[in-house]
């Protein structure tokens, strides 16, 4: 994946976020504070504007720009998590013209999330999509696989993030951050296809 494709990937991701904005916030309603879609859309808009204002000339520049936009516009829990992912990506692709090792890239992103959020698998956070995605990436992962990973957050009881305050009442709802992460991976897979 080169700079142009990566740009297309992120563009696709931002479009998906905008498209699912209302749904993402709805998912955040019963178990959070109903703002995940608005938060992510605010960040996506800022990132697109930044990329338009100054076209990145490297993968590193692309990821850094997006990471800074998300960090400075999203706020809440998802802002620093997604922001850290992109900064980790930027670090990972330093000096590279194409993404040499996608699994290593996403692993670095997951690592950033876990370092920040200190959640492990099973706590009903985006980690529950990132972790299986990274694992399966080597052997090949399909859109259906991603779908399944997102759905698998439904029966979990949240013990991290705002959803932890509703405890057992979080069971039976898809985790919004997992859903948006699913969109991120789907955009990636579609761009490669």
């Amino acid at each position: 994946m080169d700079l142009t494709t990566a740009q297309a990937w992120l563009k696709r991701f931002f479009a998906l976020i905008e498209e699912h904005k209302a749904y993402l916030s709805e998912l955040d309603n019963p178990i959070g504070d109903g703002d995940h879609g608005h938060n992510m859309a605010r960040g996506a808009k800022a990132a697109e504007e930044a990329l338009q204002a100054q076209t990145p000339t490297s993968l590193e520049g692309l990821f850094k720009s997006v990471g800074m936009s998300l960090l400075s516009k999203v706020g809440g829990a998802s802002g620093p998590l997604y922001g850290s992912v992109f900064l980790a990506f930027a670090n990972e692709v330093k000096g590279q013209e194409v993404i040499e090792n996608p699994q290593q890239l996403f692993a670095a992103g997951l690592d950033a999330i876990v370092r920040r959020g200190k959640a492990s698998v099973g706590e009903k956070t985006m980690v529950d999509v990132w972790s299986p995605f990274v694992e399966k990436l080597a052997e090949g992962v399909s859109l259906e696989d991603v779908e399944a990973m997102v759905l698998a957050t439904k029966p979990l009881k949240a013990t991290k993030g705002r959803a932890a305050y509703v405890g057992a009442r979080s069971i039976g709802h898809i985790d919004p951050g997992s859903y948006s992460s699913g969109l991120f991976f789907k955009a990636y897979l579609k761009e490669l296809a």
Partner: protein, 329 residues
């Protein structure tokens, strides 16, 4: 939604501008950032900052000033501020001795403040922090993310602010916060929800004859919905839980804070505090200081919270009573 505002998306911007202009004798806005900093310099002293989502006014900016916070950072309504904005607050507060951050325990707040700490340390500013978790409404053991930071946080601002002003180091403030935090406990209750301007509709619903115990300052669910009951019963429900958590005993001294949530008239807050003070008397616990009013609100939510702080150290009382120059203390 019936509110006094212009465009909902501009509410934080305009509110900040209004605060800065109205109280320009005490605070100023740092450039075009989301930070209000105090005019008082405090050179050579540790800077003390706090912040979080907006909608809790007068928290946080109302407590910026000599003897209390050095700066406060505004997030969007009920949304944690971003790391770059927190970092702006750190920079504004740094007067050479580092910056101490008081963070309320919400994942978003913790993550964003921690990132700001990383940014500041990369620029050579020493930063330390404490995380307030005074809301015991939702039991801790169940949730690995712990309890929410609510109204009791203002005691931390005040007591740490006093010591920062006296010249305490980052390390000393950290040590003090560790002694202080376990002695502050809060539980809230709601009669009616708030409306986030950009959402335009209530964050939860309560029947005409229902109240909810344990509600959070963003309308997070509490632990029990019950029929409307007399103030005495509400006071007892909350007081008993706080008293147990603090293991209050006859002869103990406490500081009492009855905190209005924004839409509750003082009339009701004083009726309630009267009931609370009765309960304390019965238990032979002395209220060394009592505060009543809107300190950490949830926009226009109708309801209140009760905070008790056990005075393990009598010096905390002096710190609370020391005069400050802020908008709202």
């Amino acid at each position: 939604m019936k509110k006094i505002l212009n465009a909902p998306q501009d509410v934080v911007e305009e509110m900040m501008q209004g605060m800065a202009e109205a109280h320009k004798d005490i605070v100023h806005r740092v450039g075009s950032t989301r930070v209000l900093a105090r005019n008082y310099e405090g050179a050579g002293k540790v800077g003390l900052i706090s912040g979080g989502g907006s909608g809790h006014e007068p928290t946080h900016a109302g407590f910026v000033g000599q003897g209390m916070l050095s700066a406060a950072v505004f997030g969007d309504v009920f949304t944690s501020p971003t790391p770059d904005q927190v970092y702006e607050a750190v920079k504004a507060a740094d007067k050479g001795a580092g910056v101490f951050m008081v963070i309320k325990n919400y994942t978003g707040d913790v993550l964003n403040f921690e990132m700001a700490k990383d940014m500041a340390e990369a620029e050579g500013i020493d930063v330390d922090f404490c995380i307030t978790k005074d809301d015991i409404a939702v039991e801790d053991s169940l949730y690995s993310d712990g309890q929410r930071g609510v109204a009791g946080t203002i005691f931390v601002h005040k007591i740490l602010g006093y010591h920062a002003e006296k010249g305490a180091s980052l390390k000393e403030l950290k040590a003090l916060s560790e002694k202080l935090l376990p002695e502050i406990k809060t539980i809230g209750l709601a009669l009616a929800p708030a409306i986030v301007p950009e959402q335009g509709k209530p964050g939860f619903e309560l029947a005409d004859d229902e109240i909810e115990f344990g509600i959070g300052i963003h309308g997070e669910p509490g632990y029990q919905r019950v029929k409307l009951q007399p103030s005495q019963a509400m006071a007892k429900e909350i007081y008993d839980k706080l008293s147990k958590a603090l293991q209050l005993q006859a002869g103990d001294d406490v500081v009492v804070l009855v905190n209005g949530m924004g839409g509750t008239p003082l009339m009701e807050q004083y009726v309630f505090v009267n009931d609370v003070l009765e309960l304390l008397k019965k238990d032979n616990v002395s209220a060394a200081k009592t505060m009543v009013g809107d300190y950490m609100t949830s926009i226009e939510m109708a309801g209140l919270s009760l905070t008790l702080m056990k005075l393990k150290d009598k010096a905390w009382l002096d710190a609370l009573n020391a005069p400050v120059d802020t908008i709202a203390w």
